[in-house]
């Protein structure tokens, strides 16, 4: 059984003191330990942003790629070796902004990985512009007249796309979050965990106190995660009361379940057989 200490990284953490990312990191470590995974059995893939720095801050295999493109990297890696346990750390800008099209299609592929979106409702690393999830009318230096776009509701969109694991965590409830992550990793298929993450430097609206007043756990409110309609109803709630927890769960075949060539084992482990080319060429 691995220990939290095994997940220690010596890299200096470059987040602001008080940032919600710290508890997400802690929750990840806890979940990984509970899952009995050793660091070398875990692959963490990220885009670019504050959230995307996460894999450097725990022991793991990692690919820290481009802004917005973590999911395609993860998709390629999973197809190449479907034995990999992949977690993706992304930000609201990274995943729902620049990476919006990949978010849609990773869900459509039902590629088996766990997506953690550190949703601070702001572009943190680039100093506080609005993100797709920023509240309407939020004023920033880039949006001096306030945000004019309807906020992106990742849970509702994920449900509309047929996502089989739709959850919301909150950095202020790291144990609850750890358990969601654990379930997400266990779930065979694409698992979305959108995480409410206070950004102490740039988001002065959606703060810890603001969330603390509002969040409630679906697990304690009799919600049935196999009930799609109930999930949809909960997913559309935002404001005075904000639900967190597992909204929806459904088992479906994953992309790697469906791919024919993987029936013989992971692509990376299969053999090159020159005779196959010979028989192909004989038909020319």
């Amino acid at each position: 059984m691995p220990d939290i200490k095994d997940y220690e990284s010596l890299v200096e953490i470059k987040w602001c003191p008080g940032c919600g990312n710290f508890s997400i990191l802690a929750a990840m470590k806890k979940a990984l330990c509970n899952l009995g995974l050793a660091p070398h059995e875990v692959l963490i893939i990220s885009g670019i942003g504050q959230a995307a720095k996460t894999p450097h801050y725990l022991a793991c295999n990692l690919f820290h790629g481009l802004h917005g493109r973590a999911l395609p990297i993860a998709t390629g890696a999973k197809i190449a070796n479907h034995n990999l346990t992949i977690i993706v750390n992304s930000g609201d800008g990274d995943c729902y902004g620049e990476g919006g099209n990949h978010f849609i299609n990773a869900i459509r592929r039902n590629i088996d990985l766990t997506l953690l979106v550190h949703n601070n409702k702001v572009y943190g690393l680039t100093k506080g512009q609005a993100s797709p999830t920023s509240d309407l009318n939020m004023v920033t230096r880039a949006q001096p007249h306030g945000v004019m776009l309807e906020p992106f509701n990742p849970l509702a969109v994920a449900l509309a796309l047929g996502c089989g694991f739709v959850a919301r965590g909150y950095a202020g409830k790291p144990d609850h979050l750890a358990s969601l992550i654990e379930h997400g990793v266990r779930h065979r298929g694409f698992s979305l965990i959108d995480i409410l993450q206070p950004c102490v430097s740039f988001n002065h609206i959606n703060t810890y106190p603001w969330y603390n007043e509002r969040v409630y756990e679906l697990e304690r409110s009799g919600h049935d995660p196999s009930d799609f309609n109930a999930a949809w109803e909960q997913a559309r709630k935002w404001g005075e009361r904000i639900p967190i927890g597992l909204f929806y769960r459904e088992d479906k075949p994953t992309l790697t379940d469906r791919l024919h060539a993987l029936r013989h084992g992971p692509l990376v482990d299969q053999q090159y057989v020159p005779e196959r080319l010979a028989s192909l060429f004989s038909s020319l």
Binding site: H56, H64, P72, I73, G76, A80, L84, H102
Partner: protein, 569 residues
């Protein structure tokens, strides 16, 4: 060249022009003849005008010919558009009596005969049969082709097609074209292959296991050919949501340990450029095929060009090593695609292969089957051989610039890739000396990479005038050189396939002395001439440039050279 016949089959998209061409080509294959076919079509699915032009010879042919010996017109427009190219002793087959207005025309209603055979869909078989008769081919050969084609299918399909073929064959009566081809069943049939297919098979020979793509002419064919191999190879071909995803998917797959590639055209390539930089800085091997077409933007979607040379060399911000190849034949495309996968892995860099619509959509006869590698040399570090896994560093500084590359989750060593500038261990660093160190480390690979590059392929390279070409025009330029030399003009050529890192030392000696250098390119600014001057300081004396989206013909080069109708580059 003893025998050299060109047949052009024209009509609307959807009329099955390519099927006719395919049947003819297969019959030639049966007889051990060489063919070269080009495909001309509009960006539409039905209607309009398209043609397939097949050149047949008893020697290797690798260029289209501008004189048509036999024009098969499936519609009136074909007659109007192409009759002027028909040689004085050539013939025109039309599908309607009303179109006949000269003695070299023969009207045969393919549709009527097809109906007579029992299925209107066999009109193309009728047409092929008719053409073959005119070409003096014995029906036996065609019979054999149809039998092969329908083996494993319903007997009735074969029967109706044999009937249709025969009806077409007989409909030609005693009309024959002047040159007789040496038709006799060959002992060894030479393979027939499309350009895009050669690339797909080269990918398999390079052990490519993952290909991601977004459809885009003229690259899609490569992926369609690959997709068809998914049953028999450890291979997955994934259609991505866009080119950005495709590029990043192949990087992810390569990171996890399988060789991977993508194929696209200019506009899609643009969208991949950031990812090419990611492959560069993360040192992830992968192969990008750019099948060129005229641009910018959508340009001419189904036409040909060679105008992305500088773009692919410079794609992605900042400097990082990459390979760029531009093969000139299916053999070279097969070899280079396979080699690109291998060299990309050896040097842990992106490799780009430049082809184009002319190459991808053309049909070639191969002298012999492609060579099949017995084994694949992998350039991957086995975790078992890592002495101290806890100390493994993905980007350790080395003299060669190449750091031993372990795969993630295959052992206890942690494997860390980063698209930010990084330390040897893969963690982000902004330290100035690390930055310089990593740029230099990556750049050091260029020494080894350059040593892998072949110089240009010479052809009468000691001639006074040298034609410099690259990519798909290899065969066209060769034929032009032959024609010019036959006319007593002292000309030779150099064909460049390995373009980046540019092999200066192998190039400069070939260009020294009092030579007249003329580039032949399918772009409007003589891109290769610019590259040559940039890398060697050598200026060329002229440029034969064609950029109307259509393939280059040998006679165009010959004329340009004779008339000195080339622009000063």
């Amino acid at each position: 060249m003893s025998i050299d016949i060109t047949i052009k089959i024209g009509g609307e998209a959807g009329q099955g022009i390519q099927t006719v061409g395919q049947l003819l080509a297969l019959t030639c294959r049966e007889a051990g003849l060489y063919v070269f076919g080009i495909n001309d079509f509009e960006s539409r699915i039905r209607g309009g005008h398209s043609f397939f032009q097949l050149r047949i010879s008893d020697q290797q042919v690798r260029a289209p010919h501008h004189v048509v010996n036999l024009l098969v017109a499936l519609d009136e427009r074909t007659v109007d558009l192409h009759r002027r190219q028909v040689s004085p002793d050539g013939m025109i087959i039309v599908n309607k009596k009303e179109l006949c207005d000269s003695p070299n025309m023969l009207a045969i209603s393919f549709d009527d005969l097809a109906a007579q055979a029992g299925d209107p869909i066999t009109a193309n078989t009728v047409a092929a049969g008719c053409v073959l008769a005119i070409l003096h081919a014995p029906f036996d050969l065609f019979h054999q082709v149809l039998t092969n084609l329908f083996s494993g299918k319903k007997q009735s399909s074969l029967d109706v097609n044999l009937k249709a073929g025969r009806l077409g064959y007989d409909a030609a009566g005693d009309r024959r074209c002047s040159a007789a081809l040496p038709w006799s069943a060959a002992l060894q049939k030479k393979p027939l292959i499309e350009g895009s297919q050669a690339i797909a098979y080269g990918a398999l020979a390079g052990d490519c296991r993952f290909a991601a793509f977004y459809p885009m002419s003229p690259a899609t064919g490569i992926m369609i050919h690959l997709a068809a191999c998914q049953n028999d190879f450890p291979l997955i071909v994934e259609q991505a949501e866009d080119e950005i995803a495709a590029a990043n998917m192949i990087i992810g797959a390569s990171f996890a340990g399988v060789r991977s590639m993508t194929a696209t055209s200019g506009g899609g390539f643009c969208l991949m450029t950031e990812a090419i930089g990611l492959a560069g800085i993360t040192e992830t091997p992968c192969v990008f095929i750019n099948a060129q077409r005229p641009g910018p933007a959508t340009g001419l979607a189904t036409r040909t060009a060679q105008a992305d040379l500088h773009m692919v060399i410079r794609a992605g911000q900042d400097d990082f090593p990459r390979f760029v190849f531009a093969p000139g034949s299916p053999e070279q495309a097969y070899a280079v695609t396979s080699q690109a996968l291998s060299l990309a892995e050896k040097y842990q860099v992106p490799a780009i292969v430049l082809v184009d619509q002319f190459f991808n959509d053309s049909l070639y006869t191969l002298e012999k089957a492609f060579l099949i590698p017995n084994t694949i040399e992998r350039f991957v570090l086995d975790h078992a051989s890592i002495n101290n896994p806890a100390e493994y560093k993905r980007y350790v500084f080395t003299d060669s610039g190449i750091s031993p590359r372990a795969l993630p989750c295959q052992g206890t060593a942690l494997v860390k890739y980063s698209g930010n500038e990084h330390l040897e261990n893969g963690h982000t660093s902004e330290a100035p000396e690390i930055r310089t160190g990593m740029v230099d480390k990556r750049a050091r690979k260029l020494i080894g990479m350059r040593s892998e590059m072949q110089g240009p392929e010479p052809y009468y390279a000691d001639a006074e005038t040298l034609l410099l070409c690259w990519g798909s025009t290899h065969g066209v330029v060769r034929e032009a050189v032959k024609m010019l030399r036959q006319d007593g003009i002292n000309v030779g050529s150099l064909h460049f396939c390995d373009l980046w890192p540019f092999p200066e030392e192998k190039v400069a000696p070939l260009l020294s002395g009092e030579k007249r250098l003329i580039v032949v390119e399918q772009n409007s600014t003589a891109q290769f001439a610019q590259l040559l001057r940039q890398q060697t300081g050598i200026s060329v004396h002229g440029a034969v440039l064609k950029y109307n989206g259509r393939p280059l013909y040998p006679y165009e080069i010959v004329n340009a050279l004779k008339e000195k109708e080339y622009s000063h580059a």
